[in-house]
Amino acid sequence: MLTGLTLTQARAGLAARKFSARELAQAHLDAITRLNPGLNAYITVLPEADVLASADAADARYAAGTAGIMDGLPIGVKDLFCTKGVRTTAASKMLADFVPPYESTVTANLLGAGAVFLGKTNLDEFAMGSANMSSAFGPTTNPWKRKGDDTTALVPGGSSGGSSAAVAAGLALAATGTDTGGSIRQPAAYCGIVGLKPTYGRCSRWGTIAFASSLDQAGPMTRSVADAGLMLEAMAGFDAKDSTSSNRAVPAFHKAVGKSVKGLRVGIPAEYRAPGLPADVLAMWEQGIAWLKAAGCEVVDVSLPHTRYGLTTYYIIAPAECSSNLARYDGIRFGMRKDAPSLDGVYEATRAAGFGQEVRNRILMGTYVLSAGYYDAYYLKAQKVRTLIKRDFEQAFETVDVLLTPTAPSAAFAQGENMDDPVQMYLNDIFTVPASMAGVPALSVPVGLNEAGLPLGLQVIGRHFDEETVLSIGGALEAAAGFTHIPSVHAGAGA
C-alpha cells in the first residue's frame, strides 16, 4: 500500500524501482480526492498535472542516478510556509488570496532535495491554537475515532493539525509543521505520528509567516523517528536571510536512530506530574520509563522548578511578538483590504474583518502587555521568568542527557470542547511550551492507545543542538512501543 509507507521505505522502493514517483504521487492524489472532503486536512491541493510533473522529474533523477534525499517523496506543506505561485493563507481570511512571489527557505530546501509537494495543509489561523478550530477554512477532523463512537469528531490538535491528520490518514508520507509552543508535538501526539521541534535556529524562518519570532521553529511530522531525522536533514541549514539561523553543520540525523542508548541518563521532571494528570497519560509515561530502563538508560529524578510559569510566560511573550509581527497586515501592501474614508479607517476595518477572534484577542493582549505603564509589569517580567525557565533546563542537562515527559495532558478531545475558556484551551500546551521557551529540541513519539482507542505520545527533550541524542532515545521508545495502529479513517482502509 503506497500510502502507508514511511519516507525511508518509499525512498528505498523508489531507488530499487519497485514503483515510480508518479505512481506514488498518484496514489496520494487519489487518497486526497477520496478522504480530504471529510477530513479537511488540506486547504489547497496542487493541480494534478503539477504534482505529476514534479514526480516525473524525480523519476528522471532516479534514472540518472542523481536523486536527492527526499526525491520523489510526496509530502504536505503547512499553509504557513510561503510557496512561490501557490496560494498561502495561514488559514486566515486576511491572506485568503495571497500568492507569494517567493519560496520559503525550508520549502526551497525540500524542493532542492527532490520532495514532491501535494498541497498546503490546514492549521489554526496564523498558527494560534491547539485544536485547529480557528481556521478560516473550517476545522480539520482527526482521522482517529473513539472506540465504539464513529460520530464524535475529534480535533487533530494544533496548530499543525492539517499536517498531522494528513500524515496519519495516508494523505501524505510526511508533512512540514511549525512549532511556537507545541504546534508540531501536540498534534503529532493527538494523531499518533512523530513530530520533531528542532533547536531554535536549526531551520530558517525566512518565508514562514511569522507568529512569535523568538519561538517559531519549523520541523518534520512523519510516521517514524528515522523519517523525522531524514526530513530534518533536508529542511535544516544555515540561511543568511534569517538573522537567528544557526551556522552549525547539519549532521546525518537519521543515523542517530538505532544507536544504542545504553548508559544515557534520562531525567524525569517532578513538576510534570501535574495534579489531575489523567491515569492513562501517567501509565503511558511510567511505561516509557520502564522501556528506557530496559534499554539500559539510567533514569534520574530532576526538578524544573519554574515549569508552572511556562504557560503564563508564553501567553505574554507570544502575544507581544504576535502583535508586532501582525502589524504588517494593513490592507495596503498585501492581503485583504476593506475600504473606509480615512487611512486609519482602512486599517481598522481591514483588521477587524480579516482576523478571526482568537487572533484579534492575541493581538490585543500583546498590545496591552507592551503598552506604556504595563510593559515592565508584564513583558519585562515575562522575559526575566523566561531566563529562569531556560536556566532550569540548563541545570537539568548538567546531570542528564534528555528529559522524558508526556507530550500532552490528554488524548485528542472533541471538536467544540474547551472552546469557552481560553485558559482551558491553553492548558493543552502545558508540557510542550517550556521547551519552546528555552529553545531546546523536543520530539513526540506515539507509544500506545488509551482505553478509548486514541493515541498517546511521549516527549523527549534534549540539549540545544543535540537532536541526535533526542532521536536515539526516540528510536528506542519507538522500537519498544511497536506502535503500528492506524486510524479508522485511512487511505488504506475500505478502499
Binding site: S214, Y315, L343, L364, M365, T367, K381, Q383
Partner: protein
C-alpha cells in the same frame, strides 16, 4: 490587574482593530480572564535576573553592506489589493 472598558477601547485603537461597541465588553471579559491567570507571575522573584531576549543560541552576525535583493517591484505590487500604476493606494491623508 483588571481591564476596564476604556482601556480595552484604547488598546483596540492602538492595535488598529475596529471593534464595535457591542464587541468591546465581550473582548474585555475574555482578556480579563487571561490576565487574571497571568497574574500568578507576580509571585516569582526575579531580582537580579536578566531578561531573555530571543533564545540566545547564536550571536547576531553582521553582513557586508551591499544590496542583496531588489528589482522586484512588479512582483510585490501584484500582491497588493489595490494599486495605481507603480504605486500602492491609500485614502487621501492630506486635506
Amino acid at each position: 490587574m483588571s481591564l476596564d472598558l476604556a482601556t480595552t477601547r484604547r488598546i483596540a485603537k492602538l492595535a488598529r482593530i475596529g471593534l464595535e461597541e457591542n464587541e468591546l465588553e465581550a473582548t474585555r471579559q475574555k482578556l480579563n480572564g487571561i490576565l487574571g491567570w497571568i497574574d500568578q507571575l507576580a509571585e516569582v522573584d526575579v531580582t537580579g535576573v536578566p531578561p531573555m531576549v530571543g533564545t540566545e543560541t547564536e550571536t547576531l552576525r553582521q553582513r557586508e553592506d551591499k544590496v542583496t535583493d531588489g528589482n522586484c517591484r512588479d512582483a510585490l505590487l501584484a500582491c497588493a489589493p489595490e494599486t495605481s500604476g507603480p504605486f500602492y493606494t491609500v485614502p487621501k491623508v492630506v486635506e
